[in-house]
Symmetry: C5
């Protein structure tokens, strides 16, 4: 999985019928030091993530292992909202720090 920040969403009315009512999130990849990277992915939301959330997303066939994405043409899914992470014992990100 990679760390990403939800920065937007995509509207697409004309799509594969199995994707009806799925929410497409624009996610900007962050590195493990929480620096935004020049890389993004559009992922289906499976956990109720919203703009500004730092999340984990899974790619490839693993993106189809949630109830909302099973058997669907979807290659990226947000499967966790991050509370916090640390590197070498030092906190890098803490959702509730503000």
């Amino acid at each position: 999985m990679l760390i990403a920040k939800v920065v937007g969403s995509v509207v697409a009315s004309q799509k594969d019928e199995k994707l009806t009512d799925r929410k497409f999130l624009v996610c900007q990849v962050h590195d493990h030091h929480n620096e935004p990277q020049n890389q993004y992915v559009v992922a289906v939301d499976s956990v109720g993530a919203g703009t500004g959330d730092l999340v984990l997303y899974a790619s490839g066939s693993s993106a189809r292992q949630t109830e909302l994405t099973d058997g669907r043409p979807c290659d990226a899914v947000v499967m966790a909202i991050i509370d916090s992470w640390d590197l070498d014992g030092t906190n890098v990100f803490e959702k509730w720090s503000d």
Copy 2:
């Protein structure tokens, strides 16, 4: 999924028989700010996309989860035509803005 613009199509009469009548679209990847990237993919169309459309495409085994691509040697599928997207609350692209 990644955002891409349909910029052309490929004709290939000699191909795996399971791909007969499938349309191969040349798609140029765009970033989330809608800037064209130096990256392309040839994807099978599953939603009636045409030249100039901004679309989402799915890669890998997920590209085989549509009726038109199921069980076929196809690793990229256009599965949605984008109406619009936003970043941080600001509209980046709007199909019907013109």
Copy 3:
């Protein structure tokens, strides 16, 4: 799929027995403007492609969706020989132009 030119072939007598009689093609990736890229792949041929042909190849599990590659340790397959393609209405490549 990506566009590639068949530039050679690999001989390997000692290999997984399920790959006996499969032809390994050295394919150089081309971009959508038909410029050769600094990237190659070795792909199994499923359509009778030969040196000099411009082809499409599929990667990953999709590479196992042909009769010749089904259930085999093969992650890239040539599944189409390109006749032509266009970009923004202009022909980029035409097999029979010479």
Copy 4:
């Protein structure tokens, strides 16, 4: 598989229910000379790895072939803790050398 060093962990209380009690490790990729690379992955632990361990991780659908990850939206798993490796007959890393 790639070589990586476990450098931290991610806490995510809101996640796909099939990932409950799974441990998310922040892993920094190392090259074969044991140089840290500017690349990381968040992987589920299946072998009891801890901070500082050099490990192997598997990606994609192969990341779901352990008991802890089977059928789960997980695209990277730590499936081995490295004891040592050599290059051209010379030891590069030895876990118990200190």
Copy 5:
């Protein structure tokens, strides 16, 4: 598949039990001109490859299509030892040339 040279091996006593007795080879990727690249992979051996051999390896789910890797958390397998290859009719590598 990609071309790689076997340059070492990894010892890992603590690993997923399904990987017991599997040999992990450190493989350095070569390009199609046989130039070593700054890229490596750790792959399970399925063909008896040894240090110095030029091999083909398959990635992703295709890496699990050999007897030794079926159903195992392994995303790269050496599935062929290269005898020779040519580019544009010129021999690039010949195992038995010395």
